[in-house]
C-alpha cells in the first residue's frame, strides 16, 4: 500500500464522528471527493451524497459507506466535574474502561470506574469520564450534557495490516472514496452516500435511499472474521480478499447481484470470499427495503476486534474491495 493511501486511511479513521455528530468526518470526506464528482449535497440527517454522472442509459447505483463511529454521550456532569455517559452504538464496558477519549472540541478524557469487588460489575453505569476538571464549573466550561466522545487512537501499520479506531466503517468510506477517484468512465450514475447513524439503526441510509430511489444498492462495511484464537465459527479470514456478503441479520443479499459480484471478482482475479455473518447488520438492510424494494448487496472488509479502539484490517483486502467496487460500477450490472 502506498504511503498516500495509508495517510488517507489514517486521516479518515482519526477524524471525529460518533453517530449524530459526523460533521468533522463529513468535512474530511467532502474535501477529498469533491473534485471527482459532479455534485455534492448534504441531506436533512447529515448524509453526504456525492453524484458522479454516467451515461443516460445507465442505472442509478447507490454506493454506501457509513461515516459514523461508535462513541459515548455525556448524560450528567457531577459536582466534582466527573461526566457520566451512555453509549452511542455498541460499546462494551470492558473495552471502554481505561480508554482515553476525546470530544469534538479537542477535550481529552479518561474512562474510570467506581470501586467494585467483582469484574462482573463492570457496567457502563459504573463508569465515568474524567476530563481533568477540578469541579462542575470547570467541566462545564469544556463539555456539555449531550456532547459526544470517541476513542482516541492513532492508525498504525502492522506488516500488511492496519490498526485503528473506527475502521468500522471509515475503511468503507475510503473504499468508496477511492472508487470515485479511480472510476474514469462509470457505466452508471453513482450516488455515493456517506451515511450517518448506521450504528444506531441504519438511519442515514434509510432516508438517503428513500430520496435517491436507486436501481441497485451496494454498501461497503466491515465484517467479522473467524480466524482468531478460539473465535467465532466463520469462514472469513483477514487477508483472503474482499468478502461478498450472503446474509447478515439485516438482509439476505439479492442473489442475482451477489453472484454477479462473485463472477466479476473471479473474471478479474480479485481475491474474494463469501460471508455469512450471524450477528450484525449493514446499511444495505435499509437500502433493500426502500419503497417497493431495491436489489442490494454488500462488499465487506474483513476486520478483527470490531467495536474496540483497535480494529484491524489487511491492506490487500482493502485493495480487493476497491477493485471489486470499481469493476462493479464500470460493468453493465445486468444481473
Amino acid at each position: 500500500m502506498t504511503e498516500e493511501m495509508f495517510q488517507l486511511i489514517k486521516g479518515a479513521t482519526e477524524a471525529f464522528g460518533p453517530s449524530g455528530s459526523e460533521e468533522p468526518i463529513r468535512e474530511f470526506i467532502e474535501a477529498r471527493v469533491k473534485d471527482y464528482v459532479d455534485e455534492v449535497r448534504t441531506d436533512a440527517l447529515g448524509n453526504l451524497i456525492c453524484i458522479k454522472r454516467g451515461p443516460a442509459d445507465g442505472k442509478k447505483v447507490l454506493l454506501d459507506a457509513h461515516m459514523d463511529e461508535i462513541g459515548l454521550i455525556v448524560t450528567h456532569i457531577d459536582d466534582k466535574g466527573f461526566l457520566r455517559f451512555s453509549n452511542i452504538g455498541g460499546v462494551n464496558p470492558y473495552i471502554a474502561l481505561g480508554e482515553r477519549v476525546y470530544f469534538a472540541n479537542g477535550t481529552t478524557g479518561v474512562v474510570g470506574i467506581e470501586k467494585i469487588d467483582d469484574p462482573k460489575e463492570v457496567k457502563l453505569e459504573k463508569l465515568f469520564i474524567d476530563i481533568g476538571a477540578k469541579d462542575k464549573a470547570e467541566a462545564e466550561s469544556r463539555v456539555r450534557v449531550g456532547d459526544m466522545a470517541a476513542f482516541q487512537r492513532h492508525a498504525e501499520r502492522m506488516g500488511s495490516r492496519i490498526v485503528s479506531k473506527a475502521m468500522d466503517d471509515r475503511i468503507g468510506c475510503v473504499v468508496v472514496m477511492e472508487t470515485l477517484r479511480r472510476t474514469k468512465s462509470p457505466r452508471h450514475t453513482i450516488y455515493a452516500v456517506f451515511a450517518v447513524q448506521e450504528e444506531v439503526g441504519l438511519r442515514g441510509a434509510r432516508v438517503a435511499a428513500f430520496g435517491i430511489e436507486p436501481d441497485v444498492g451496494i454498501a461497503v462495511d466491515v465484517t467479522r472474521t473467524g480466524d482468531t484464537p478460539k473465535g467465532i465459527t466463520m469462514d472469513v479470514c483477514l487477508g483472503k480478499g474482499a468478502a461478498i456478503k450472503v446474509k447478515d441479520s439485516s438482509l439476505i443479499c439479492h442473489p442475482g447481484l451477489r453472484k454477479y459480484l462473485e463472477r466479476l471478482a473471479a473474471e478479474r482475479n480479485i481475491p474474494y470470499q463469501l460471508e455469512v455473518l450471524e450477528a450484525g447488520g449493514t446499511d444495505s438492510g435499509a437500502i433493500q427495503m426502500t419503497k417497493a424494494g431495491v436489489p442490494a448487496a454488500v462488499i465487506s472488509v474483513p476486520c478483527r476486534y470490531i467495536h474496540t479502539p483497535s480494529e484491524v484490517v489487511d491492506e490487500n483486502d482493502v485493495e480487493a474491495c476497491i477493485n471489486l467496487l470499481v469493476a462493479a460500477v464500470e460493468s453493465p450490472l445486468d444481473f
Binding site: 439476505i252 442473489p255 460471508e275 450471524e278 419503497k291 417497493a292 424494494g293
Partner: protein
Amino acid sequence: MTSYNEKARCEYLVDVKAFLKKVSEAPGVSGFEYRTVAPIIQEFMAPLVDEIRTDALGNLIGFKRGEAGRRNPKVMLAGHMDEVGLIVTKIDDRGFLRFTDMGGVDPRILPGHEVVVHGKMPLRGIVGVKPPHVMTADEMSKTYKMEDLFIDVGLPAEKVRELVSVGDLVTYHRQFTELMGDLVAGKSFDDRAGVAVILVALEELRKYRYTADVYAVATTQEEAGLRGATVSSYGIFPDVAIAIDVCQGDTPGVPEWRTQSVGKGPALCVGGNIHPKVYEGLTKAAADLGISVQQEVAPGPTGTDAWAMQMAREGVATGLISIPLRYMHTSVETLSVGDIEKAGKILARFIASVDAGFVEGLTKWI
C-alpha cells in the same frame, strides 16, 4: 352487492393436497424462494389471474381485475412462500459443515435429522451428534446449541469444498405425509398453506361478481423479518390487505388458550394489528357461508405479514386469517386440508363484498 353466480361454477383447478405436496417438498429458504417454490406457485396461480409478475425482492404478484366499478378497491392477499432453514457458515478441515439458522429453527430438533445441502448439486446430509458413550455427564445434562452441531455429507473435505460454498442453503429432507382423516404433515406448511388458501380463494372468486382488483402475493422473506410484504405492500398500496398465515394448533403441553383446534376451521384474528371492519367483514363472510371459525387474539403486532402491510405508507386496513398448525417450524408441521379450503371460501366471499363503499368506511377505525 354480492351475487352468487351458479353458472360460473366449474371443476376445481386447484387440488389443495397436490399443491401442498409439491410446494412442501420444494426447498425455499427465505431469500431463495425464487429458485424452486415461486415457479411451482406461478404454475398453479397463472390460470387464475390476469397477470403475474415479480418484484425486486422476489415477491410473486398475481393480478386479477374486478368488474369495472365506481372505484375498484385494491385488495392485497399475502401468504409467504419462504420457509425456515439453515445456511452454511464454515466448512471445516475434515469436511463437516457448520451452519446457522435462517428464521427460527430450534437446534434441539436437528440432531439425527436428514437434510439436503443445496450446493452445486443437492447433496443428502445428516445432522450428526456426539454419541452418548463419549459424552461427559455434564454434556448429557445439557441440550444442543446450534454451534455444537454439524452436517456430514459423507465426502472428504476437498470434495466438499468443490461442491459446497459458504452461504449455501440447507433444508429439511422430508416427504409430505397424509395422516388419518384430512390431516397432513410435512415441512414448510408455514406458510405455503397460506398460499394454498389464496389459490382456493382465487378459484372461488369465479363464482362471484365483484369490483375489487385483487393482488395475490406469494411473499418472500417473512421469516427473516416480513421483508417481502413490506416492499410489496408499499408498491401495491392496497385499500385492504389480508395476510393468510398459520397459528399454533392444539398440542399436548400447550395451554388451550394459546392454541386453535386443528380441523375446526380457520382462525380470524382480532387486535390492534387488525382493522375492526375487516375482521367484521371476514366474520360475516364466514357466517353467510355457514362455516364455523375460531378466534385468535393478538394484543400487539401479529408477527405476520399483516404487520408489515398495516404499516405500509400512510397505513393500510388489514386482516389476518390463520390456519391452525401443530409443531411449527419443524419438518412435521401438521394441519387440516379442510381448514385451508374453508379459509379460501371465506376469503373469496369477503373479497366479493369489498366495494367502494366498504373502502370509504375504512377511514374510520370503528
